[in-house]
Structures are given as structure tokens and as C-alpha cells.
Symmetry: C2
Subunit: 147 residues, 2 copies
């Protein structure tokens, strides 16, 4: 029943659980459903500036390294989804604050569902500390399935 599902993926067990649930939802549909995977990485410009002062000959750019790592994580998720029988999968990476980047991405791509992993502790502590899944459910106007 969902046409376009977004799964934010950070490589954690919770994210893998969310991916599995999203694949099941796509497979239970009419076969037209599209799965989008998003791995968000943080900008570290300040950290990078410091590094460039103490290690001026360091090759490359910290943001590039993080983007590469994020791409590997997103591609891994795409592979898992395809192996689980979901053909229509697309992987994306984006820099930024995690929750806001997810919500903006879903708005831009008009996803009709976000499936996201929780840390799964189920404790009052987790509720009080907050988590990305809490921020996304609080910020997004779209349906969010916390797995």
C-alpha cells in the first residue's frame, strides 16, 4: 500500500531491523513500491580546520572521507534490500544534522512512509535522552514507523 518508503540507515542493528520491515512492506504491496535508503553524515568543518593546522600535509578532506564511508554504508543497505527480494531500491547520502536531514529528504521526495530503527532499549532513560527516531517522529508530518 506504500508507494515510496524511506529508510534512514546508519548501519546499526536497529537500522537493519527497519530495513527488513520496509522490505516486507514493499513486498506485501503491489510490486510497484520503491525503497529509498538515506545515510546521513555529519559535517566536521571545524574539526577539519583544526586538523589542517596540525597536519597541513594530510591528504584528502575529512568530509570526503565521511562521505565515502556513508556511501559504503548506504550501498551495503541497498545490497541487503535487493538480496531480500526488493528490486526497486535507491541509495543516497547527505551531510547534515541527522533528524532534520531525514525529514527534509522525505519532504523533497514525497515519501509516504519513513521506517526508522530505534535504539530499542525501551527504557525511560532513552525517552528522556531522546533519539533520532524521536526527533524524526516529532519533526515530520509524514507517517513514521519506529521499529
Amino acid at each position: 500500500m506504500f508507494k515510496s518508503i524511506l529508510v534512514p540507515f546508519d548501519g546499526s542493528q536497529g537500522a537493519e531491523n527497519a530495513l527488513k520491515m520496509a522490505v516486507d512492506l514493499i513486498k506485501s504491496g503491489d510490486g510497484e513500491g520503491k525503497l529509498m535508503i538515506l545515510t546521513v553524515y555529519r559535517h566536521h568543518s571545524m574539526l577539519e580546520a583544526s586538523l589542517s593546522m596540525v597536519r597541513p600535509n594530510e591528504p584528502g578532506n575529512l568530509d570526503d572521507v565521511m562521505r565515502e564511508h556513508a556511501t559504503e554504508v548506504a550501498d551495503h543497505a541497498k545490497k541487503l534490500a535487493k538480496e531480500a527480494g526488493c528490486p526497486n531500491v535507491h541509495a543516497f547520502v547527505s551531510p547534515g544534522g541527522v533528524a532534520r536531514t531525514i525529514v527534509k529528504f522525505a519532504d523533497k521526495h514525497d515519501n509516504d512512509l519513513i521506517v526508522i530503527g530505534s535504539r530499542g532499549m525501551g527504557s525511560v532513560e532513552e525517552y528522556l535522552l531522546g533519539s533520532v527516531s524521536h526527533k524524526v517522529t516529532g519533526l515530520s508530518k509524514r507517517p513514521v514507523l519506529v521499529v
Copy 2:
């Protein structure tokens, strides 16, 4: 794909949206899915004690009145779900704190999904103030779909 879905229902627009989503999920399944509706009402023993002092001849019991109202709300949701084409619906009422009562109910009945309405403001204020849907996603170890 879900066998037993719980929809906490308080009569709000958000709860009606959640109910509609749950009915769609049941209908997209194999026809074996069961929908459970739960309306939680608050105990008001202290309020009731005060009332009994100032209005000693007041007939009835405030908890009875609240239970009756909750039953009407839950039955209304059951009717809506049946009209929307979901035959296997059961309505329940329970006193207690809303979020904890929902989470305990889902554990007791082994629901494989909770579908719950948010206030839908999508604002930072709502995130900071918290809401029942936030508490349920934080406390429950089961998948929670916030609509």
C-alpha cells in the same frame, strides 16, 4: 503482513487518521489480520473524593461516567473500522496513564504493531513538550507507526 494491530483511540483527528491507516494495513494483508482498539481513561479518585465532599448527593461515580464515555469512543472507532471494510475488530477500554497502559496492553495481547496518531504539529515545541505518541515509541519495544 501484520496479524494483530493495536490502535489507541481517543476520538481525535489524529486517532482517526491512525485508525484509517491501520484498516488499510489490515485490508492489504491476507484477510486474517485482527484490529484492536483501545480507549484509555484516567482515574480521577482524588477529584472524585473532593466532589463527594462538596456534593454528597451527586449520584453515580465519576470513574463510571468516564468509563462509559470511553466505551462510547471505542465503539465509535469500531464502527468506523467496520464501515471501512475491516471485519475483525475488537474494542477495549482501560483506566490508567495513557502511554503506559497502551504499552502494557500491546505486550499482554502480543500485538505486532501499534498505530497511533500524533498531534501532527510537526513543530519543535511538540518535540520538546512530548506527546503520548512519543512516550509510546520510547517505552514500547514493539514497532510503532506514528501517523
